[in-house]
Amino acid sequence: MVKKMKIQRINAIVKKEMKKLTRVPATLFMALLFPLVLTGAFGLAFGGGNIAVDTTYTIGIIDLDNSAWSNLFIGNLSASNVISNQFYESNDTAQADLAQGKVDAVIIIPDKFGASIDSYWLNPLNASTWENTTINLYVDLGSLIVSNALPPLIQQILLTTLYGEQALSISQPVTIGNLSGVQASHNTQFDIMAPGMFAFAAIFLVLIVAEGFTEERTTGILRRIQLTPTTPAEVITGSTIAHMITGILQTAIVFFAAGFMGFNIGTDAIRILFAFILVSLLVLCNVGFGLITASLAKSLGSATGISFIFILPQMFFGTFVPITSDITKLVPSYYVTETLTSIFLRDAALTSEVVLYNFVIMIGYCVVVIIGGIVLFAKFGREK
């Protein structure tokens, strides 16, 4: 039976849910206060911190020189056991990969690199005869470690290349140019965590949705609604719209709280809008998980328990907990956090490959989960 949905009904359900949000302290806390407190607390705890971790950095190299000197420099980069090289032909592809987090930094060795060093060795004491060049270094602005640790490291390797192992601090013909976007070196741990926090708040909607529906079922109010001409589609639509509103409020709260704690979301309205849309997809996904949970749960207690089956993996694999494993790709929050990091910290374009790819995955994920949730709930969720 296909029946036209009635706005009046959906409207009534949305309003009812919003009243619940503002009047039931537990819901208000869970939905709005919790993200605010969390963001504030993390901002205080990690806003000024510094971190040091030993890892391997992948550096994209564009060798425009291809001389013996440039090969020596590249060889020295590889020889340091913290750097692995990846070669690019064009700056554009290298920059795109940097923006998407595939490489940690990009070095462009200019075509005069070898000639420059030769000119130095011809007359090391007369700087006026040197042919000066600049190596361009771009670093991942999304990583505090990379932006702080890499430039001096590369500087050191450059010195080794020029003078051999016992590099001295004497004037050199080749210097590293200004880091583009130097403010990135001010990234705190909090900045790096912030994208994960946007996702974090949305994840807890599973609990709110699952408990809400389970409670409505156990108190018999869902049956009562069933006795009116209201269709399941209208109930689910109304509730989903209400939770979308909640999710957007949450995101806005985290945005402002994070901004207040020093996170720079920038001023690009399109980017911010895109971020909201992305988080909205995550919200929708979690409403779907909530519906699935409510369909499976027999009681309020089991609804809470089952909710955490959806919450915990999303929390650990897809927010600010640094886990690098492919398992993270199973949870929707991963795609949101990863994309927001690309956009806000790595300055990736909205049209870049990784951003679009993640966006499409999120849409697909969302459609599957929400449809699954609706079907399950309509079938098993309303009566137990």
Partner: protein, 246 residues
């Protein structure tokens, strides 16, 4: 059968081995107040739940207002108002908001909804209480707001499952007056009860039901006359050898 009547034929409902409703057949005339009287577990609520489409019968038919509930439930729902035995409501909404919420689910025009809400709240004596959150209501207030929620859509057929349980004497009498008023408006009312007095003073006809089986059906007066009893309690004892409730 007239427009707003009910016709139940050979209705059977099994829960696994338990026969909750056993081959029930009866008719309710349009504009009648019909009572199902029986002890706990008799099958009253199960019968109501089948007639309103919440439960599916094992076999038999129930036609409500001309529509078979089995395949025309959506049509039936435009005609009926149902007051469930367990009064479900939103504790965080006020009494009035609960009522208006259900009015909106019935698609009532805004102006009519407000007018009817005022009218019904007045009738059940909840005008002042209506601005408080229903979660803070007393048991009797909850029953009364639940009744208003059930009847907000001005239904042609009202199903009231134990409408006066937990009400004080005064509220109970007010509710009876209210139900009688529905009759004067030409509504069909089917209610369940285990209060003898309620069945006697309110119902045009009463079906006595026990262990899923309809034992007798007639006007209270005729039932008492037939069994030489002074009230319906005695009728029940004469038929079953037991009291309706201790």
């Amino acid at each position: 059968m007239k427009e707003n009547g009910i016709k139940v034929v050979n209705l059977l409902k099994k829960f696994d081995d338990l026969i909750a409703v056993n081959d029930l057949s009866f008719e309710v005339k349009s504009g009648e107040i019909f009572g199902l009287l029986g002890p706990n577990g008799a099958g009253k609520s199960t019968t109501i739940n089948i007639m309103t489409g919440l439960l599916h019968q094992t076999s038999g038919t129930a036609v409500i207002g001309g529509y078979d509930i089995k395949n025309k439930a959506h049509k039936v729902r435009e005609l009926i108002g149902v007051c469930p035995q367990e009064p479900a409501f939103y504790p965080y909404l006020t009494g009035r908001e609960n009522v208006e919420f259900f009015g909106n689910l019935h698609g009532m025009p805004k102006k009519f909804l407000k007018q009817r809400t005022d009218e019904l709240l007045e009738m059940v004596g909840l005008v002042e209480g209506a601005t408080r959150q229903a979660g803070k209501y007393s048991g009797g207030m909850i029953r009364r707001i639940s009744l208003v929620m059930a009847l907000i859509n001005d239904p042609k057929i009202a199903f009231l499952d134990e409408p006066t349980v937990a009400m004080d004497v005064q509220s109970r009498r007010a509710t009876w007056d209210f139900i009688k008023k529905l009759k004067t408006q030409g509504k069909t009312v089917i209610l369940t009860t285990h209060y003898i007095e309620e069945a006697e003073s309110l119902c045009d006809r009463v079906g006595i039901i026990d262990r899923g089986t309809l034992l007798a059906l007639d006007t209270p007066r005729a039932l008492m006359k037939e069994h030489g009893a002074k009230d319906l309690e005695e009728v029940f004892i004469k038929i079953t050898g037991r009291k309706i409730r201790e």
